[in-house]
Amino acid sequence: MNSIALLSAAKDGILTGSIYALMATGLTLIFGVMDIINLAQGILVILGAYLSYALQVHWHIDLFVGLLITIPTMFIVGIVIERLFMSRLKGPEKTAMSLLVTYAVSLLIEGSLNMIFSVNDVQLQGWYVPKAFAIGQIHFGYVYVAGFILAGVLLSALYFMLYRTRFGVSVRASLADQTSAALVGIDVRRVSTITFGIGVAVTAAGGMIYGATNSFNASSSYDLISRLLTIIVLGGMGSLGGAMVAGVSMVFIGDMVGVIWSPVWSSMSYFVVLVIVLLLRPQGLFGKQLTRAA
């Protein structure tokens, strides 16, 4: 172990972590507004990656330009899923049922992706993918830096929308308390649908960066969803800031453990961190105060 290795790991943790933060923000937003745990978020990220892949292979559209198509497409996919399935979930078992429904949806998507794209791993290509620039002895991959900037831009846009627009007020009101939001005349149904669409739309960007930095196939989604769930719980379910902080710190901790100790313990480390944090703060780092019977 040397200082270069440590600095490199820190850089990797922050750059990669920002992408996870982006994907997790979509997940936690959906939960906060709708009380739905979207287990399909992992496979939707992969779907987003495959969309970029299809655009690239068939129409030679650059990955970043392709986002102009894939982000709206994933938004619509989210709207469709919400209208078809999520809107029907009601009652006290809603959250538990949402696990099942979104799992079933993810099976459908996984099976379809396997049939369309086969199970062979693919990776997104671009001239900038293998390129990097160096500051001192630390090398920064273009894709990772671009991903970091992209995550920053999209998260800022999300914040702007939530805190500077009328629609954002409705979303935040629904985040705080659905019943009261409905009482003051907010159309919670519409807010839910659009929120789900936005929560899914971020997977297009996350998926593109994920696909450019990793080989993937449909079953990569299982690794993704388990990380994303851990992140939103650590951050506090429903907390946007929490998802961001937790996303970056999880990957950061994992990468540091990998360098200092051994890579075999890096994935273990964030589950252990999660358990310890929850022992001290059951509501997660930035979660709302514990309400008993949720």
């Binding site: 172990m1 040397n2 270069i4 290795a5 490199s8 790991a9 990797d12 943790g13 990669t16 396997n114 199970v119 062979n120 791993d121 990776q123 993918v129 293998p130 390129k131 990097a132 160096a134 090398h139 991959g141 990772y144 930095t213 990793n214 080989s215 993937f216 079953s219 990569s220 690794d223 994992g254 990468d255 990998g258 360098v259 051994s262 890579p263 075999v264 890096s266 994935s267």
Partner: protein, 416 residues
Amino acid sequence: MKFSKAKYLRAAAATSIAGASLLTLAGTSGASSGGLAKGAPVTIGISLSLSGDFSADGLAFQQGYKLWAADVNKTGGLLGHKVVLDIVSDASSPTQVVTNYQDLISVKHVNLTFGPFSSLLSLPAAKAVARYGYALVEGAGGAPSVFQAGLHNLFDVSLPVANDLVPFSKWITSLPKAKRPTTVAYVTSNDPFTEPQVTTIEPVLAKAGIKTVYNHVFPAEVTDYTSIADAVAASKPQVVVLGSVDVPTVSSFMQAFEQSGFSPKVFIATGGPDQGTTFLKAVGAKNANGMMVPNAWYGGSSNPLSKKMVAEYVKLYGGTASQVSSDVVEAYSVGEVVAQAVKATGGFDNKKIIQYLHSKVTLQSAQGPVRFNALGMNTTPTAFTFQWQGTKFVQVNPAGDPNSVPVLFPKPAWGK
């Protein structure tokens, strides 16, 4: 830890030796019928991972088995019986593999069984098949743990993996002191196939004065290798030994090394570069230049059986000799070995086939000669090291072998 491991292995060995004798008894009463009606086809049952974690290899295996069956049927089948393959999918799950072989034997009444892909599935499969007295001949379960289970009916036609890197280590240590690399990094996936290979050569290189600057195992389920690759690059090794089982792992490391401006003098990966076209497509032909991989076989092998198979393969699926995956030949060799056993025993009686395969007889396959020891391990093959030179996949070790060409050393920089 070591102590307890040895203990349970001994226990396992003891019980299985006792079991082996019982097994032969079971074989006599088993469903393994030697006689087959004239003109009836001979059916062979195979469970392969056509989806799930091992599916890419499972599909290549399917190609190999099918290619063999087509070749045999062209020359009149086995003892005049047309070969029919019954391939079912196990979705890479051991539970399903157990169910599948019982289905193949007890419901579909197949005459012979061939092995699944991966060491992880061979053992549960062999144990289930053993109850029926069937032989399970397989081509991809060469991890030491498979043989330690001491099953009497399991035969692996391929090279046992533990010694795969030996010719490579011989080559490195034979280099004159001035040219010999001085540092090495071992980075290996947590997998029963890769770890034994790396642990075999580490002390050999250390003894030759090559300093280990990085030695870590990474979890097999990891998808993001960047931080691991960065740590390897930061330790600046001249030699990188990567314990990998598939193409995505190798290509991820190569890309991450390229991004961090690091190109080792020697880069060998235990699996991935042997996957022909799949590998070239994933990493780009230019980056492949200089990449090394140990194996028992390659598409350019001068073995006549191999040449025949490669020609058939190219006719059926297109491409060139360098692009044939080693999975294909591993599956194909299973068929060849069983065919010779069937001919020698004059029928499809599994008990006789098991006895014959245990009789220390030397058989021929596209991967070279095959002779099984008591554990069902193929003891004859020597490992080779192969290297991508340009877009050609050539044999470079062992050094004395007439088919070996000089190693491209040091490995050219990425994209050169």
